[in-house]
Symmetry: C2
Subunit: 388 residues, 2 copies
């Protein structure tokens, strides 16, 4: 562990098949008006909407409905939601859905009572909220982003052409999250697998940074090994409760700030992925999958020791009698094999990237001066081209 | 992950060489009167007392001194501290020390405004506090127990002859903890190494339970591997900041309830250790070390799959061509070698256990019906005899 840091994560997690039984008790900690935010109709088809409404009724709440949160939530939708919260004096925003819905709920929670334009204040200038923050709770129905236990909020601004992530502090983190693995069973295979890769990307993007010996890397390796094991089972049999439960738990801990303690991070794959998402509206996890191998092969030599460690400790590559380079390459080959096995998108072409829009994607990529190598714009284009 | 569980740990951690710079800011969140609880004179010799007093002064606090917290804090001392807190209307208990001091502070925090006898209510009947709970903060000077981020409180009652652990909920957990690895540098080697084994015991006692595939075990393996690596360095060079920092962080996460999520635990080694501590007043971590090998060799056949996994994933034992039993034995042999290397007490005789008091120790052992095997009293005596 190096440097100075703090850790504070007060989100209360209820996990398991009976997790919903805690919702009524949690609701009672808040005032009379609850805004129920969700996406499309899927929670109405699978019964989750009815279960949540029953809990809201039992807790005696007045419900403000807020449907239609889109997969890449926009600042326009955030402004609408903020108005609803403000005008109804909402006491709790209950987000029922995946990362997009919870990211959106957090954005609304800091915007409802904000006097300035939230996009400029939070996603451009990166300021802290100095207004009343409306509490957020969540019922998770899709696994991957970790939004249920962090302060992250990725919002898209179509007008200015940016998709930007922002990490708020512990005062914006959800107060509670209901994690029932069965609630994720009806997610289509494509979305499920995209979520698996999103988790792996969170793990790798925090792992591939730094040179010090750091406990955080050991924890990260454990989470990667668990994810690899369980995702192989779940990709074949999405109804395997044990595997889905392990993956749900892994996703939460992969991005609740534990894995950044005492070390840096990379996050360039997420930046490229966000740019692809902005241009193509493709599923987030798949955008990451499509560029990860070209990216990691590109920066491997700059962080060789860590790629060797990744190969040995995560993938079980035997290092005896091999050069560091070969060991590192074998690690990335194992990653590639696992990606093919669980069935993620291996080429950005399949998501709509092409020679025609590659420059537009590159323009939207935020280049971070962290990780083992700071890319040039030319390198971004090169990686995108290799990802096609 | 199996079953239903919840996780909620709101303790704020400040980590690193500059962690103390956050103390004044934290103190400002509480009322005017702070009780400063600590043990002997060591914090006065190493400058930590002065640094804490300076922060208390800067924050404008009235300080109630509460020195003399002993290594195995007694319920009598808790009653005294509770009276001090009550009579001075203390707003925050600031525990400066190791696990004993923080365990004690938590005990005082739930006793000061309790109308009943706290020993009977909390440590015998196991009830929840239903009185005002006085907030606790901590500045950690000794690593091992994890008390800085959990609700645990081990208290000794000499009158009735019991040493009992109690785990309170998140409302009793410290509000904040200052973790500066350098503050642990002056701890004597014997106490330092005892702390290392205490951590390992927390990890093992949560690991050796259950049969399901569980993400928690993967995280636990990562923490064990980090601890083994860093403790080997620190035992030879206690001034190695990186190693001591990794160990400090590992200790906190080894017992903050993350590692019990989704699985059972064992904890019989701690019960036997507590009994030895009660009879001999020996250092906690050393009592655990002295009985662990006989205990684990005794129960190995009952949880063979997990001992095989321990050998392979934690100690790097190669399983090819070996029986499960041999692999498991090699894992425990690696554990033994590491224990000798870092220099823990290998025989309970060195702590004062003998044929003369072995029955008295056995009488004080609480037998838990969990883990891979529930011991009989005869087996407890047998393990104690093998530990001599």
């Amino acid at each position: 562990m190096n440097g100075n840091f703090s850790f504070h994560n007060p989100t209360k997690l209820y996990f398991g098949e009976e997790a919903m039984s805690h919702l009524v008790g949690e609701l009672k900690n808040y005032g009379p008006t609850v805004m129920l935010s969700y996406g499309g109709g899927s929670i109405k088809r699978n019964g989750i909407y009815d279960a949540v409404m029953a809990a809201l009724k039992e807790a005696g709440k007045r419900v403000v409905e807020d449907a239609g949160v889109m997969p890449n939530p926009t600042i326009e939708k955030v402004r609408e939601g903020a108005r609803l919260v403000h005008d109804n004096n909402v006491d709790l925003i209950l987000a029922v859905g995946g990362g997009s819905t919870i990211d959106y709920a957090k954005a609304v929670s800091v915007s409802a009572w904000c006097d300035e334009d939230p996009w400029e204040k939070y996603w451009v200038r990166g300021e802290r909220p100095d207004c009343r923050i409306v509490p957020v709770g969540s019922v998770l129905t899709m696994v991957g982003t970790g939004s249920e236990m962090n302060g992250g909020s990725v919002i898209t601004n179509r007008a200015t052409g940016f998709k930007r992530g922002r990490v708020f502090g512990s005062d914006v983190m959800p107060k509670f999250a209901i994690l029932n693995p069965r609630f994720t069973f009806t997610v289509p295979q494509y979305q499920m697998v995209a979520g698996f890769f999103d988790i792996m990307s969170h793990l790798m993007e925090q792992y591939f940074a730094g040179t010090a010996d750091c406990t955080t890397d050991y924890i990260n390796e454990g989470l990667m090994r668990s994810l690899i094991h369980s995702s192989r089972i779940a990709a074949k049999n999405p109804q395997d409760y044990e595997a889905r439960a392990n993956i749900m738990w892994t996703a939460t801990w992969a991005l609740n700030s534990l894995l950044k303690c005492g070390k840096g991070g990379d996050w360039e794959v997420h930046q490229i992925g966000h740019a692809i998402g902005l241009v193509t509206d493709a599923t987030h996890g798949m955008t990451l999958a499509s560029v990860s191998l070209p990216y990691y092969r590109h920066v491997m030599h700059d962080g060789l020791h860590q790629f060797v460690r990744f190969a040995v400790n995560v993938w079980g590559v035997r290092p005896e009698g091999k050069s560091d380079e070969l060991v590192a390459q074998e690690g990335l080959a194992s990653l590639e094999q696992w990606m093919r096995e669980i069935g993620v998108v291996m080429h950005s072409r399949e998501l709509g990237v092409s020679e025609e829009n590659i420059e537009k994607v590159a323009d939207a990529v935020l280049i971070l001066p962290v990780g083992y190598r700071t890319l040039t714009r030319d390198e971004v284009v090169q990686i995108l081209r290799e990802s096609l």
